[in-house]
Structures are given as structure tokens and as C-alpha cells.
């Protein structure tokens, strides 16, 4: 079995209620594939944080999960405003979220650091006015 499995999702922007649906689906798929629960949890948390970010900061995007024999890769791509200073954004507590987002239970500036914590590799490329692409891997 050398073919990778690929799951692909459109993540709708500005629809906070449905945000996270892709992550819930991925979690279900990984369970069905019989992965270890700790691996599933790490992938789920990282993807969910990234998915929420795409919805609240970037107006949606595309999420792709690739399951290979060595790793599970999560690719999140949006055409949002981009991140000006990635190093700053990675710091715990840094957030530009609005009060509305905060009243919904998010916007503590914990998402990006939490994505890093739960994955083995994480790469962010972002261009102002063009969008953001995040690639994370959890090694198996």
C-alpha cells in the first residue's frame, strides 16, 4: 500500500457555526483507519486550530490531509490578508482577533503555538495581501 490517502475540504469563511467541520471529519476518518488515539488527537487539535484560524482571520480556504506510511500531513491554504510578522504571530498570547471572536471563546493567541506543540514539523509561508499556507506533519 504505497498510495497516499488524501482528504480535501473547502473551509467556508465567515461561517463560525460550521467552522471545524473538516477537522471533525478527519478525526472520524483517522479513527476508521485505526490510528493510535494520541496521534489522532494531535492531528485533530492542530488541524482544528488551523481551520478556525482560516475562518476567523482569512475568510476560509482549503484544507488537505495526506496520510502516508510515514506521516500525516495537514496543508491549510487561504487567500486571506496574510501574516505580517510570523515570528510575532507564533508567540503565545499574540492575537488580532476582534471582541466578537473573543466573546465566542477564541482569540487568546494560543492557536499557532498549539499547532506547533502538537506536530513534529510546521512551516508557515505567508504573503501580505495574497494569503497564508501552513504545512504540518505528525510523524507515525
Amino acid at each position: 500500500m504505497s498510495d497516499n490517502l488524501i482528504f480535501r475540504f473547502e473551509v467556508l469563511g465567515n461561517d463560525f457555526t460550521s467552522a471545524g467541520q473538516a477537522s471533525v471529519q478527519v478525526k472520524k476518518n483517522l479513527r476508521q483507519l485505526g490510528f493510535d488515539s494520541e496521534i489522532i488527537r494531535r492531528v485533530s487539535i492542530a488541524m482544528y486550530e488551523g481551520e478556525i484560524n482560516m475562518v476567523i482571520h482569512a475568510g476560509g480556504g482549503v484544507a488537505e490531509v495526506i496520510v502516508s506510511e510515514e506521516y500525516i500531513e495537514i496543508i491549510l491554504e487561504d487567500t486571506g490578508p496574510g501574516i505580517k510578522d510570523i515570528e510575532q504571530a507564533m508567540q503565545a498570547g499574540y492575537s488580532t482577533a476582534s471582541d466578537t471572536i473573543r466573546s465566542l471563546g477564541f482569540g487568546a493567541g494560543m492557536g499557532l503555538p498549539n499547532m506547533k506543540k502538537n506536530t513534529d514539523t510546521m512551516e508557515i509561508t505567508s504573503t501580505i495581501g495574497v494569503g497564508t499556507r501552513i504545512v504540518m506533519r505528525v510523524l507515525l
Binding site: 467552522a19 485533530s44 487539535i45 471563546g105 477564541f106 498549539n114
Partner: protein
């Protein structure tokens, strides 16, 4: 602690997952900030919160929690109940505030985060 015992202590209504009240849970966290739950919770099975939206359910799902307690008489909508039912979560609703609810469970033996004996 069995979820049914939690229900009794909190004098809570069961909004869904009646058939899972016999499940045992070993720790809980009380929080209105989902960012913090995602970043800091570990192995807690129960989330007590005053925040009501679908992301509370998805956050609980991502963290492998299996029971949500909405405090201070918060009424979740049908979309929340439906999502929880689909994923076999128990939802309880209590009139008590967050602080009191957490205190009741804690003093009756339900641990917080780093205290769970394995």
C-alpha cells in the same frame, strides 16, 4: 465518578446522551475560553462551560472529551444538541454557576488536570 453522579450533584437536566450516563469520568475542566481548553486541557473527560455555541462541542470532540456541562441555565440550541448526539456526547445543563459547579464536583472527588492518578 459516573456521569449520573455528576448529574445528581449538579441537579442537572440531561439534554442528550441519556444512554451514556453510566460512563466513568476521571477529571474535568471548567472554562469559557476554548483557546485555553485546546492548549492546556489534557485527558479531561468533562468540560464545564458558560459558553454556548457549536465550537464548544467541536472543541470537546477534538480533545476526546465525552461530557459537556452547560452552567448557569444556558440553553444550547438544536444544532448543538444534534452535533453532540451524532458523536455520542452527553450534555448536561445545570442552573448552578461555573464556580459552584466545579466546586461541587471537585469536593466530591472529581480531579482537575494534573491530578489524575493513572
Amino acid at each position: 465518578m459516573k456521569i449520573s453522579k455528576m448529574q445528581e450533584l449538579l441537579e442537572a437536566k440531561v439534554l442528550c446522551g441519556e444512554e451514556f450516563l453510566g460512563r466513568h469520568v476521571y477529571s474535568a475542566c471548567g472554562c469559557d475560553l476554548m483557546s485555553d481548553v485546546l492548549a492546556f486541557a489534557k485527558d479531561q473527560a468533562v468540560l464545564l462551560t458558560g459558553l454556548v455555541n457549536t465550537q464548544v462541542v467541536r472543541t470537546a470532540l477534538m480533545m476526546d472529551m465525552n461530557c459537556i456541562v452547560f452552567v448557569r441555565s444556558k440553553k444550547p440550541g438544536d444544532d448543538i444538541i444534534k452535533l453532540a448526539e451524532e458523536h455520542e456526547l452527553v450534555i448536561l445543563s445545570t442552573d448552578k454557576p461555573l464556580y459552584v459547579s466545579c466546586g461541587l464536583l471537585y469536593t466530591n472527588g472529581l480531579a482537575g488536570s494534573k491530578e489524575v492518578k493513572k
